[in-house]
Amino acid sequence: MTSTNNGKIGIDHLAFTCKLSSFQNLEHANTRRFTKLKWVSFPKRSYVGVADPLLKESLISDYRAEYVNVLHLRLEQFFNRVLGLRLSNKRGVGFHGYKDSYKIMSKSAPIELGFVGFGGNNDTVYIQLSGQGCSHVFSRITPLGLHFWLADVLDVYKLTRADLFYDDFDGNFGTSYAETAYEDGAFNNPNGGRTPKIDIRRPRVGSVIQGDTVYIGSRKSNVFWRIYDKSLEQGVENQTWFRNEVELKAVNVDVLLNVAEAFAGVCPFAASINLEHGYTYKSLTKKSVVEFQGRLKWARQQVGSTLSDILDAFDGDIEKAFCAVVNTKKSKWQLTDSCKQMLFNLEKLEV
């Protein structure tokens, strides 16, 4: 499962490295923001003033072990309080060249959302968040907020990988558009360089198309595009859904300052999606309509006949029947103008 973004530029994968010791700086956030989060305290230096060299050495060793332990507790707190996630127990299994690792988990369900590698490699930790993990994180904190924690508190200046994506529900930015844009040189690096390669894949069985994907660039290069028919991939029928996704490697953490701007800056193709001039709103509305349509379909299946009986009881007076079912005074139920408009549009969309 990947995250969706309601028509904005979303983040579908994040990976970065930071020093474990940078978690001693978490209090810095309190002076820069209004947040006053309490973090686990570091141990006291009980070895100071101890004359016996053997005892002193033992106390120093204990102090160091406890210090590292507190750093791990703070890492756990950071995931919990800032990212809204939790860490598993230490797995006792190495990962990505590290001696040990945690799994990143959802707080509310046993869902795995990524990895943290630790131990070795100059006492760094490697954090890798899946698309679903990003979805969890960005439902709690904005990319700008995450930038603050990474750049200003944890001294992270580079993201090993960040995948940015744009979902198109209108068919304006599908695979055909990507092919045309490629022919126009719109995927070329604005700063020069070789033309990236294009790889178009439309596997089919007989006349049934099973996938529609355009790859541009190389997965091993720092910029790699994947434009594909998400509805085909997910098996969603009668729905236009194209995903335009770019993998950025070794990218400056500042992409989080303004994700849309960073996306638009990758190449002319990305800029042509032109999010600042209306498409965002259009996609947002369309996705809401589709979701609303799904809810109606569900309600029709579950309580359609009951509602029909209620309507009969009120001699077909929709307003009275509706008020009998929904307490409009106490409820937050209030149809907005956009929802009313959606209801009018539903007839056109229904299949």
């Binding site: 190495g94 060249g97 959302l113 190389s218 290069s221």
Partner: protein, 71 residues
């Protein structure tokens, strides 16, 4: 002993595939799905040299400094 033609991979279905190979320009590539991974392997002609990273394989790779260039 490290096989320079092999693709070593760690697959977690709910997260993705971390693949490592000396044939990759940057040693490590993360794939979100097995389909993406498989498609790349076919293109690169690497389907015959797949090695899953078990604890034993991981220990061998670490001991031989396979991951050193990542950090």
């Amino acid at each position: 002993m490290i096989d320079s033609n092999a693709v070593y991979y760690d697959y977690e279905p709910s997260i993705g595939i971390n693949a490592y190979s000396q044939r990759f320009a940057c040693l490590h590539v993360f794939y979100k799905s097995w389909g993406q991974f498989d498609a790349d392997l076919i293109i690169e002609g690497l389907t015959d040299n797949l090695v899953e990273i078990t604890p034993e394989v991981y220990s061998m790779l670490c001991a031989e400094g396979f991951f050193n260039d990542l950090h």
